[in-house]
Symmetry: C2
Subunit: 372 residues, 2 copies
């Protein structure tokens, strides 16, 4: 007998006929009712990576079998681990496996892993036979609070992050908080970058809660994690429901990401973690917001302090000058025509989309920003 | 000065906020008003192939320039010609070109060519930065009456045709009938397969019209072509509007395609043309419909005769036994769970989706069907 799952909570992402639940709790990987209702057809492909497979694959396969009301044909694919493998070549391995198994349009993919696995499996599902069902089972804090919710899927290209992809919503997201026990501290901090982001762009009360509970979160306190994950998913779900395909407000979720993507791409994917680059990017955005006259020095410092207490860098990498940043930033998907658009803070808990920073000022700001 | 375009007609595909026009006429490649209103942003990438480029690329580029109300950054990509190049590798060439040119999310792709180019460019647009605008400029009869309308995009996989793709609607379809002048007779016949299909599944009056005008169509009579293309697009637009993502009635458009795809895949893409395989596939479907007791012998013979008069084969390839057909047919996207679904005729002008042919009967039917 597996131990009973502790009380869990369920949020809903409201997207009309594409709505889906997010189940959050400890031990949900062993909970058949979190999976069985969302499986379409009888053909199921679990996709995971070499790091995650030894920990959780067998358990998930057992849970799927236990919950099945009809015989399922469950297969699995194990990909290499790392952002450098978030490529169309790896997605092709998934498609090969699906076709070799003879899977048809009524099949279900399950993404078991972090954001790289979730984004790739989502895109594989979006484009296989023009779209099949998938379930997200995020095992890192970053993917639990961010990438598994909202339907953005895709892969990197040597010339830019997430340049190839689709909007494709999962049938369900299952967050087992217990899976964070095996997560390295550096990756936990990277996940906290997105948690802090929700506070900064949308909810000053949550930001204050984070200032108070940061030590508990970094010590893996389950109650604190459950609260932080649930509030993060709530904010994300609310924003996604208002703007599924990022025509407007959804862009606010990119606070720190334009600078951050430039850092990640320039350093080579996998050298800076995504969350680390976003941490430094948010610190840059806070400083620029202050320089634009929108954020007080005290609020800028408070933003910097919470980023730092999450275990994240504030400084930009020493090997990137302003030109290196700007060349990458011009490729950002948020740009319309030729202007660089940034997410900036108008207060703690409030963000805006801005393309009004004069190019010279932006260049000088980046050049003068601290390096490490 | 270019010659004035002759009177053209415009149909609309009604899909709510994804609705778009189909412009049909002679000389439309020289008509700026057919293109300018549908270009999003200022970055435009025309994608075509080695066969089409020498005929039409310069003319289209001139038309785009002439119609532009703002300076456009127009580039082009020329891919190799042929169904064997309908692959993810070629789509990657398009993505590379877009990223090397620094194109952002507000750009427009233009597909200039037959169905292979249209399907690949549509998928490239669907997945570039999670979706950008595209315009279809089909230059073959097949693509004018079928693949350019309805938003099915994608590429082949060694294990199956169109296995990777997306539903992604163009901003407009521009059909220049004059481009058929350079089309080989064999490809014209292949296009007529889909025209005949619309009559068979939906419109016995159109089928009768086709019986009467088949010689004029094959002689490239412009008035007859305009009528056949417009009626075909009308029927397709109506069916697509009723069922954009093929949950139901849209599957009827696959008459002859389950047998046909098996033939194409088994022979190696490009050896039998798609339309030739569909012609033989429709003949097989008509014969099976008769065997199931749904179509009289006279109606079956009438279906066979119109397929033959379009210049298409009725017989299946000599090198395919029933097992070879069935192995391919089991991978068909229409199948739900493990049943093979076929489109069959319940009368001339009426089709149905059927998965009730007993496996033994289907096997014996295919085995006994004429070969050449």
């Amino acid at each position: 007998m597996t131990r009973a799952a502790s009380p869990s909570r369920t949020l809903n992402v409201e997207l009309g006929e594409r709505s889906y639940p997010i189940h959050i709790g400890t031990g949900l990987l062993d909970e058949p009712t979190c999976f069985a209702p969302y499986i379409v057809g009888t053909q199921v492909m679990v996709v995971t990576n070499e790091t995650i497979a030894p920990h959780y694959l067998k358990r998930l396969l057992a849970t799927l079998e236990k919950g099945a009301s009809r015989p399922l044909d469950v297969r699995s694919v194990i990909l290499p681990d790392g952002e450098q493998y978030k490529s169309i070549a790896q997605v092709e391995h998934i498609w090969d496996a699906l076709l070799e198994a003879g899977f048809n349009r009524r099949c279900t993919l399950i993404a078991l892993g972090g954001g790289v696995i979730g984004d790739m499996v989502g895109f594989a599902a979006a484009a296989y036979q023009r779209g099949v069902a998938f379930i997200q089972v995020p095992t890192t804090l970053l993917s639990q609070v961010d990438s598994s919710v909202g339907g953005k899927t895709g892969v990197n290209h040597p010339l830019g992050k997430n340049m190839i992809g689709a909007f494709w919503q999962p049938k369900a997201v299952v967050v087992d908080i217990a899976s964070l026990a095996s997560l390295p501290a550096r990756e936990l901090s990277a996940g906290l970058a997105e948690v802090v982001k929700y506070g900064l762009i949308r909810d000053i009360a949550f930001l204050a809660w984070l200032e108070e509970h940061m030590a508990a979160l970094r010590a893996l306190d389950e109650a604190a994690l459950a609260e932080a994950i649930a509030r993060s998913c709530e904010i994300k779900a609310e924003i996604v429901a208002a703007d599924e395909t990022e025509q407007g407000v959804r862009a606010l979720l990119n606070l720190g990401h334009t600078f951050g993507h430039a850092i990640e791409a320039h350093q080579g994917y996998g050298n800076w973690l995504h969350g680390e680059a976003v941490g430094a990017g948010m610190a840059m955005a806070a400083s620029l917001s202050h320089q634009r006259g929108w954020l007080s020095a005290a609020d800028r410092d408070r933003a910097h302090a919470v980023i730092e207490r999450a275990g994240l860098p504030l400084a930009a990498p020493a090997n990137m000058d302003s030109a290196a940043f700007l060349a990458r930033m011009r490729l950002d998907k948020k740009n319309l025509d030729t202007h660089i658009r940034l997410i900036l803070l108008t207060a703690l808990g409030e963000a805006c989309i801005s393309d009004t920073t004069p190019p010279d000022q932006l260049d000088a700001f980046i050049e003068a920003y601290p390096r490490r």
